[in-house]
Subunit: 678 residues, 2 copies
Amino acid sequence: MNQKNEDGYELWLRYRRVDNPDRLRQYRQAISRATVLGASETAEIIRRELGRALPALLDRAVPLSEQRPTGNALVVGTAGDLKPLGVSIPQVQRQNLGEEGFLIRSHQAGGDTWIVITGNAETTLLTGAFHFLRLLQTHQNIDNLNILSRPRIRHRLLAHWDNLDGSIERGYAGQSLWQWAELPETIDPRYHDYARACASIGLNGACLNNVNAQAQSLTTAYLEKVAALTDVFRPYGMRVYLSPVFSAPMQLGGLPTADPRDPAVTKWWQKKVDEIYRLIPDFGGFQVKANSEGQPGPQDYGANHDDGANMLAEALAPHGGILLWRAFVYDVSVDQDRAKCANKEFEPLDGKFRPNVLVQAKNGPIDFQPREPFHPLFGAMPQTPLALEVQITQEYLGQSIHLVYLADMWKEVLDADTYARGPGSTVAKIVDGSVFGHNTSCIVGVANTGSDRNWCGHHFSQANWYVFGRLAWDHQLSTETITEEWVRLTWSNDPLVLQSIKPMLHGSWPACIDYMTPLGLHHIMQEGHHYGPDPAFNSAPRQDWNCVYYHRADREGIGFDRSSSGSNAVGQYHPPLREQFGNLTTCPEKYLLWFHHVPWTHRLQSGRTLWEEMQHRYDEGVAFVEKMVDIWQGLQATIDSQRHQHVSQRLAQQLENARKWREVCLNYFGQFVSGEDT
Amino acid sequence: MNQKNEDGYELWLRYRRVDNPDRLRQYRQAISRATVLGASETAEIIRRELGRALPALLDRAVPLSEQRPTGNALVVGTAGDLKPLGVSIPQVQRQNLGEEGFLIRSHQAGGDTWIVITGNAETTLLTGAFHFLRLLQTHQNIDNLNILSRPRIRHRLLAHWDNLDGSIERGYAGQSLWQWAELPETIDPRYHDYARACASIGLNGACLNNVNAQAQSLTTAYLEKVAALTDVFRPYGMRVYLSPVFSAPMQLGGLPTADPRDPAVTKWWQKKVDEIYRLIPDFGGFQVKANSEGQPGPQDYGANHDDGANMLAEALAPHGGILLWRAFVYDVSVDQDRAKCANKEFEPLDGKFRPNVLVQAKNGPIDFQPREPFHPLFGAMPQTPLALEVQITQEYLGQSIHLVYLADMWKEVLDADTYARGPGSTVAKIVDGSVFGHNTSCIVGVANTGSDRNWCGHHFSQANWYVFGRLAWDHQLSTETITEEWVRLTWSNDPLVLQSIKPMLHGSWPACIDYMTPLGLHHIMQEGHHYGPDPAFNSAPRQDWNCVYYHRADREGIGFDRSSSGSNAVGQYHPPLREQFGNLTTCPEKYLLWFHHVPWTHRLQSGRTLWEEMQHRYDEGVAFVEKMVDIWQGLQATIDSQRHQHVSQRLAQQLENARKWREVCLNYFGQFVSGEDT
């Protein structure tokens, strides 16, 4: 046992001694002491963080003070606080920083060099401090620093699908972090650790309860609990959001209706929102799932999404709150192709929403599959800011058992060009508001956190939380950069570890697609829990709850014809995508069976027939998991045994599962393939 | 913040540097190195424990080896392993040690002094090692050691009322520790830490699932999970037990009946038990709740408890397993007084049980109330070994919110004289088998552990786990001794801390009785969850589910007449207790309203009327909680802020609750008291 056992609780904030002698010397020379200006709770948190990190990283005392330092030092303070120390930040740079940006700059103070971390608000100093500590943790050069960083998206949220009874819908890492029964009296120290982790990667909000919401969460008793959590989160720069249930005026207010056009209903919501803001002055807003999968909504009363959203938005507007209205709808009467429903319902409403409404779409048009083409709503509603929702928790991707790194999936979506205003209209730029000039923007990640000691169930699932935060802050960062950071922070700066884990991470998502749903297949998971394959499933009461609805395998071939001769879902994409996707010969093979029903004998770029390619892909997927098992085995002497063993156990299950996927899918699909096709 | 924050996970195994200079010098001189003989997993665990504890306690390196040491040293090995080193343990002492005893003895080895820890089995060495470390942790003198300790009770179990879905019936510290969904593939390191904690206080078994059992726990899939847990627990000397549901042959075996006299049923159980022992060769046995609170049992088929128990016992006997058959029954058709039911059902069966059956009774005849007289079954079944069940989790005593130390409650029960074979026939001696000469014995504590980081919800609830283990090992230990140990281990050896916390602990149980149910009152808690007062509750369908059934307050007075003129429950106790309890003037006031309906104007020893005394007791109870708040406040500078704050928050709630109890009970009972009585 070479390394001290770790349980994963520390996440990427491990602050181990810098074991690179040159860097250690540089850091010790550069940081003989640290000064944090300011008296706020946030300043106190920064002091605590530096007091914990610097002595551990530098392996020696680093005096902390609130005074002007002598010697080379780290100095943290707002531009205003820095002035008396003779550090002035030019006005243009202050403007450039905006509300949330930070600046890390080397500064000559007489014969000494200070590393100054500054920004316009104290919570941004915290973000900057974490950024700086990350430089040390990952052994970066800190000479002549001049880093200005600010987020490209305004609201960067984790959405917790946590129920009030402590269970988590699609949670695979234990129970909810929120101890509702104990709040507001008892403040679990883990609330602080949660907020700290979020702040360290640039997140600034959390929606606390499940979008399949219970009215109870809006009672005064629960709002007081929420307020207690908010008091913990506030100094970390984290704001709190809630998911209200649309029928709350009936359940809590005793009204006979929840019709958004009814003045009593409007008034009830206004009063409720006013109450929330009395308890939580910086409340972030609501995230609403309405008329979706059985949730109540305005359509229950003949009103429409805009009526519902605007009513709530008007209640929130005077307080500065935003309204996230989810576009995850698939009413079979709207269209027989589930993938088309959201656009058909929402496109006509473009321009009808209040300014503080964001329509929130998932990354793809179905539901968090291993791979989907981007959601065609992005680019289809120029007058409406669109929030992007991705799922950090791996509902369909092996949950907390499979090692699947989602960075490249999200990057594929963010970088996807919608052509909404010509080339370069990427999803990322739709979401950050730059394509259509929106001032507000939001990205939401469905959290994978829970009460498990390692937060996420799988040590590697922490990577998905990490990369979500980093991409939410700056979608222009390369995934390679973020991956390198995370591995160094979480595992080690040892080159062997880096060379081993980075390819595991980047290969894991393609492998998962291959052993689950290659070539555009989707939604062939077992019913309900969505773990494991069940392509034969065909007994659900609704067509689009069955696996056969999605893959449509028959004697001729396999795939969902969404071309113009099929459901014409391709028509919801801008040119040239609709043509590219709609044509079997130009459609990217990764989306082939998503958009086309393809003959088994169809030849792919590899020269293999479709059926041969499918077999090949399943084999490749399994082979990569085998490879991960080997790579990981090779790290046994380098990684602490507690974490190593835990991951080994998970990888063994993943391998067994991957083989099962291959077996079940090839057996099932194979029965449609005639001898001639093979 | 003077002390480093702690989250309570380490329990009483904190191994902080010995901060008493004289002791530190003594310890360093006495332990220059340590030798652990043997190659078993247990020997490895002992090495790991010493390797963790000694360098931390002594604040310097303590070389560990498996060789004969030179210099003063700690030497751990079985008598057989010690022989080659020239240490011989006399045969008579080896016999005296029995299977589970340990010996810690100073030994002269040439010019060196060794501290030798030995015993007949390796798991006893582990118990001995923990005992020795406790001496260091609590700053005891270790010169000329000669400690022989062996348990007075054979089976010392925690009973986990854990459901397979992860919830815990009457659990207030999070979810189940057992991650059934992840087992057997994933072994949570916490399983080791759980077994280690149990072993450190002398426990040797755990019943893993709720007595309100699910058949699923006996399926092969679940047994494989149980086997994986057992593999972790085994080297710590912890055996595993299960709670089977009596109807399992129908649910799992597809049989038309579970009648214990049906050969097919008998055979099913035999095969199931054989399967269990194939997977778990050292399986401990079953704990059964049958014909109790709706659970199926032999009476469903016209058979009786002995038929059911014996059938299961016969299946277990060839493998050495025991059967714990719970006597927690209260069928209203047996007796109108719930307190009498168990004796009426079980006394007639004395002598009818197989030798490996133990009838398991709770400490009192109702249900884990703040205070009950001992259960009259103890002493009433001389031919049957009786197991004692106490509840560590505080179902009726403020759950994980109230600081209530249960040591003195259990000690009161253990020391209670049943007079079954004349004076001195204490409950403890009935249970340990010495009164009636039984070879087998068992004590069961319903666990208060859960997934909360601090294991028990409240830092002080850890004390109840600790003291249960220590008393299970040796019921002759004084609670003062155990209390002093626990405070030193868990909090500090600082005299201020000791002087502050010890009186809090010892005063907390009397205070809880006073602010909840003084003078023999019982079962006036709110329905279902049993938290908070509801003395007016009278709407349950069964009389004995109502609070008014238990307190019987009216214009005349209050209390349940169980004297010979009432239900004559006193008749179930041996003389002289039946007379003492049955007479209003000789009945101990602590049991007054348990056994008597007492006029409001009745004068107590204090000179106060009953009603005045009740008011006084409620006041006293609340006053003590106020005092605890003050005492705790005084420790702010001495205790780490994380634990201090958590306990402060709990104490604030306890105070609010205690005041509520007083208000609700005095308001409610006061309405029966006329002006003349007050």
